[in-house]
Symmetry: C2
Subunit: 244 residues, 2 copies
Amino acid sequence: MSGLLSRAQLEAALRRIGEERYHHLHPFHHLLNGGGLAKGQVQAWALNRYYYQRMIPLKDAAIVSRMDDAGLRREWRQRIVDHDGNSDEDGGLRRWLALTDGLGLDRAYVTSTDGVLPATKFAVEAYLHFVREKSLLEAVASSLTELFSPLAIGARVRGMLENYDYITPEILAYFDKRPEQATRDSDFALAYVLDNARRPDQQQDALRALTFKCDVLWAQLDALHHAYVAPGTPPPGAFRPEAA
Amino acid sequence: MSGLLSRAQLEAALRRIGEERYHHLHPFHHLLNGGGLAKGQVQAWALNRYYYQRMIPLKDAAIVSRMDDAGLRREWRQRIVDHDGNSDEDGGLRRWLALTDGLGLDRAYVTSTDGVLPATKFAVEAYLHFVREKSLLEAVASSLTELFSPLAIGARVRGMLENYDYITPEILAYFDKRPEQATRDSDFALAYVLDNARRPDQQQDALRALTFKCDVLWAQLDALHHAYVAPGTPPPGAFRPEAA
């Protein structure tokens, strides 16, 4: 088994996982940013990603519910506030619906989640079960994909605005606030992991948790790619783009 | 909402779900049976399917653990016995390893599950969580894919023996006992569902549970197809067939 890593070594090992496995490397991501998708494929992405978005506050509440320390809980609950806002007109989840609205998807269809790929649901729910069932350290470590998200978001917003005439800054409002929030959140989570993964087995748990989370994100793009790009065969019951 | 279905209508509705959504309709299934796969692709199938097999007795134990009636438990526990056998040399899971052995996969690699696709794990674990968290009626109804398995197995055994020179009857021993077991098990489960789904909402729950289970099986073949057939891009860390 591996020996104890220094704080710097552990941080480097965590960042290396992102460099090798974060979903900014996925072919679907390049197609999306580069203008390589038809509108129906962009709709499929936004529709499926909504399923992930709607699970985020449940995931964060599950993490808060496992924290014994009030200071930790106060820090982490901000994520729930950011996502759910202070009314139905506010918050990250609401801004995601501005994106699906802007893409012409029916709001009731989106929120019903009826057209979401089963593989998306399985991956997203695996994440929720992971943070409920694994150690708090692993639950926190699994959030560290946010270390890598600011870069991915920048490329996505620039690429989508440039490459799709129906994409406007208003539609992409979700992404305005995410880099700042993600940086604040992942700085905190990284410090927590580096402070609390003090035995070799805990360090390996943290690395595996981040790998798991990268798998969750990657599997969602694999499922989208398979259903809507190549070979482009959605499973029975899933969203089918209208013929262009 | 839907009204109350007669016993015959409910059975017909359940069978229709299988006709429309069971994974015998999936392109990967046709490739496997028809000799359209290279050996590395058949290995990938057996390796990933092992992850499903190893979860089956856990799933059945979870169902037994939710049954208040000793007679029901006695009936259902036979599934655990069939799968785990009476020694390490016996049982359905052991016979699945005869298949992975026969395909030249390293036993320790297979049982480590390290090379299994994350999407396979997410789908399989979704099934385990489903039977733990939903009603007993839904857990039993989700097992009804076995109504359709004898037909799929017949075509698979015939096709694989005919089309792959490295496939022998000994390697496929797993499938010898499955049609008889599956028929016994699914007759019992079907009667249970028809007896216990007495309200419209319960009937709809049972139909949704069977749909969910078809999605679990379909998503596994979608993941295999994407990773190993078209476009044939396994995610980071997953099994990669040796170059032929």
